[in-house]
């Protein structure tokens, strides 16, 4: 069984990383987590972003956060990507599979996945 003492080990491992992480995160991935988002499947989308960003070693650069309803409930799950000096990118009708591609091609590769963008999605 997992015990809380394992957290002490995690603490030791992470000591050095903490300094590097503060002040980082020039890309912000924001997942809508209001009632509309949650019922459309935002929870696995969010948790996939958290996992895939860590798996791709992007935690220094990318911060995954949550927000409430932004008013386009019919397009949920909605994910917005904010990057310094660039225009906001809005992904709609997201799934965990789409999230993986966004991490790979956009967050890692620097090129937004155009077919998931709000402008290219029919309801």
């Amino acid at each position: 069984m997992k015990s809380l003492s394992e957290l002490a080990a995690i603490r030791e491992q992470m000591k050095d990383k903490v300094a590097i992480r503060t002040g980082s995160g020039n890309i912000r991935v924001v997942v809508g987590m209001a009632t509309c988002g949650i019922s459309a499947g935002a929870r696995p989308v969010l948790n996939t972003f958290v996992e895939e960003v860590a798996a791709a070693n992007l935690t220094d650069k990318v911060m995954v956060t949550q927000t409430g309803c932004i008013g386009i409930c019919q397009y949920e799950p909605v994910v917005e990507v904010f990057e310094d000096g660039k225009e906001k990118v809005t992904y709609v009708k997201m799934t965990p599979e789409k999230a993986k591609r966004v991490v790979e091609e956009h967050l890692k590769g620097g090129k937004p996945v155009s077919e998931y963008l709000i402008g290219n999605t029919k309801l």
Binding site: L7, A8, Q13, C36, R43, T59, T65, I70
Partner: protein, 184 residues
Amino acid sequence: MKDLSLYVLDIAMNSVRAGAKHIAITLEEDSHAVLTLTIRDDGCGMSQEQVQRLFDPFYTTRKTRSVGLGVPFLQMLARQTGGDVTVVSKSAAEFADHGTVVTAVFHTDHIDFIPLGDLTESILTLIQGSPDVDFVYRHSTPSGSVKMDTAEMRSVLGEDISLGSYEVLAFIREFLHEQHQQIQ
């Protein structure tokens, strides 16, 4: 919403948005197929008028859309199974010990009850979004119980490391997952 864990996440989000510092989520299943869900917070609370209007789907305080379905959804589900929802709240304007308690009772042997779903993922989502809030989660069944208190975790981890960091979330996922398996 397709399972109860999503309702738990949705209702607990209200506590987060109410600025709560402590949120306690409790699920208690007794041996007569009665499940009681309690979400208790020390957030800003609501006036009596707001509490009454909470059950009205066309009432919301938000500006981005004109409906508020969280509590009405929960009430609909509870009533479908022969249970109900009660909300007791003390607003910060009137009370020093402000906060809200949402209690929902379900009959799990009713045909309209839905699966519990993945409670671990809902709790993780809450911690990820609000790593500085103290979450206490308890899920008890006749065969055992799951317990988690993020304040305890934070005291081992120290203040420098966020509960929202991936390594810690991965630990909490395993920690809860193992305990949930024990009571299934």
